[in-house]
């Protein structure tokens, strides 16, 4: 027994930013930036929009019709509070039953895979039938206005994914963690590193993150294929974390994946951290581009540094 993705819902913040205008305002070279990132628009949460309330809105799109949730998993690195557990607040706001398991997972770009894996483990239990996995982040709240590399990539969003029990075997997962790269993408002055008069500030060494990705992710993808006894030929799509154009293009090149198998939408939504993969799946479902029985490889990678990868069957 295992679980199957039954529904995905998306909640975007109100503010949509055009990168061209952002570059114009800051006197940045738009052509040069777009050539590398491919990102035309990003979404920024307003002062009244937090990761938590975006998460609640995304979750409500599922729970207004189905309140029978046994496990609520909230993946975020933009918590409303360090305590209480944010998932507990969401449980209350969504009006979910009280005999429910609710907890947060602190993961970023690989967070959806972590959440899905965890959901699958719960669904092996007889008493658990429905898991709600919510991913939400608002990285842009902590990006300085002069931080070109982060401001032109990161975007805010929330997604809610309902995973229901079914009797099929789930795909095998591959995970990878290398904490030696923890400083390459981090929120400075946050948590116990808090400093008086200093706001938390997102930092990314794009060169090191790219180097890690190109070095590690292809091996993880090949391991995922081997462990699931499948080839690119048998897959309907490959969905990578929508980091940026340069990252995805180089992964496709290194892995020699047929380009028609690779789904992208970073150009429209930017890098929404743990929501990029569910947003891709949401679009594929909405546009009827996938049908029952299709197999899709999904791979998230980044902050940690960490990678997670698996095959899902529609």
């Amino acid at each position: 027994m295992s679980g199957k993705i039954s529904q995905i819902k998306l909640q975007l913040p109100k503010n949509k930013f055009n990168i061209k205008n952002l570059c114009k305002r800051n006197n940045w070279n738009y052509e040069k930036i777009i050539e590398k990132t491919g990102i035309k628009n990003v979404y920024h949460s307003t002062n009244t929009e937090s990761a938590l309330n975006l998460a609640v809105k995304a979750g409500a799109k599922i729970t207004k019709r189905n309140k029978n949730i046994d496990v609520l998993i909230y993946v975020t690195q933009s918590p409303e509070y360090h305590l209480p557990t944010n998932a507990c607040i969401i449980q209350n706001k969504l009006g979910l039953k009280k005999n429910i398991i609710s907890f947060d997972i602190n993961q970023g770009c690989s967070g959806f895979i972590y959440g899905l894996f965890t959901a699958q483990q719960f669904l092996l239990k007889k008493t658990i039938n429905n898991v709600l996995l919510i991913c939400s982040d608002t990285y842009t709240k902590n990006i300085k206005s002069i931080n070109k590399s982060c401001l032109t990539i990161f975007s805010d969003a929330a997604t809610a994914t309902l995973i229901k029990k079914n009797n099929k075997k789930s795909g095998e997962y591959i995970f990878y963690t290398d904490g030696s790269g923890a400083n390459d993408l981090k929120l400075n002055f946050s948590g116990n590193q808090f400093q008086k008069n200093k706001k938390p500030e997102l930092f990314m060494d794009g060169r090191k993150v790219l180097s890690f990705t190109l070095n590690v992710v292809p091996n993880i993808i090949n391991q995922t294929l081997r462990k699931n006894k499948i080839t690119f030929k048998n897959l309907k799509y490959v969905i990578f974390h929508q980091a940026s154009k340069i990252v995805i293009e180089n992964l496709v090149r290194k892995l020699n994946i047929p380009i028609n198998k690779v789904f992208i939408n970073y150009n429209k939504f930017g890098n929404t951290v743990s929501s990029t993969i569910p947003i891709c799946l949401y679009e594929l479902m909405k546009k009827n581009k996938i049908k029952k029985g299709d197999q899709i490889l999904i791979c998230g990678f980044g902050v940690g540094l960490s990678v997670g990868s698996t095959i899902i069957k529609i």
Partner: protein, 78 residues
């Protein structure tokens, strides 16, 4: 590949009109910013058939001299 070919490759990847030699560095080539560095990394990886991305020190090499040294050590250039 020799040093001269490497200079040409770096010049193309940075799309700069400036001459590239052993003295070139991110501090004296305007186009060699963080995006320029990504271009160098991916161009080298393509040229050396996925071997360059395994050289993690390349990611932070901000001078042509350093790039040459790393690639020579890995026996990718003469």
């Amino acid at each position: 590949m020799n040093e001269k070919d490497l200079f040409k490759l770096i010049k193309t990847s940075l799309k700069t009109s400036k001459k590239i030699d052993l003295k070139s560095a991110s501090r004296n080539i305007e186009e060699w910013d963080s995006l320029g560095q990504l271009s160098i990394l991916t161009t080298l990886d393509k040229r050396f058939k996925n071997k360059a991305s395994k050289l993690t020190k390349l990611a932070t090499a901000e001078t042509v001299k350093d790039i040459v040294s790393i690639l020579k050590k890995a026996k990718l250039i003469k």
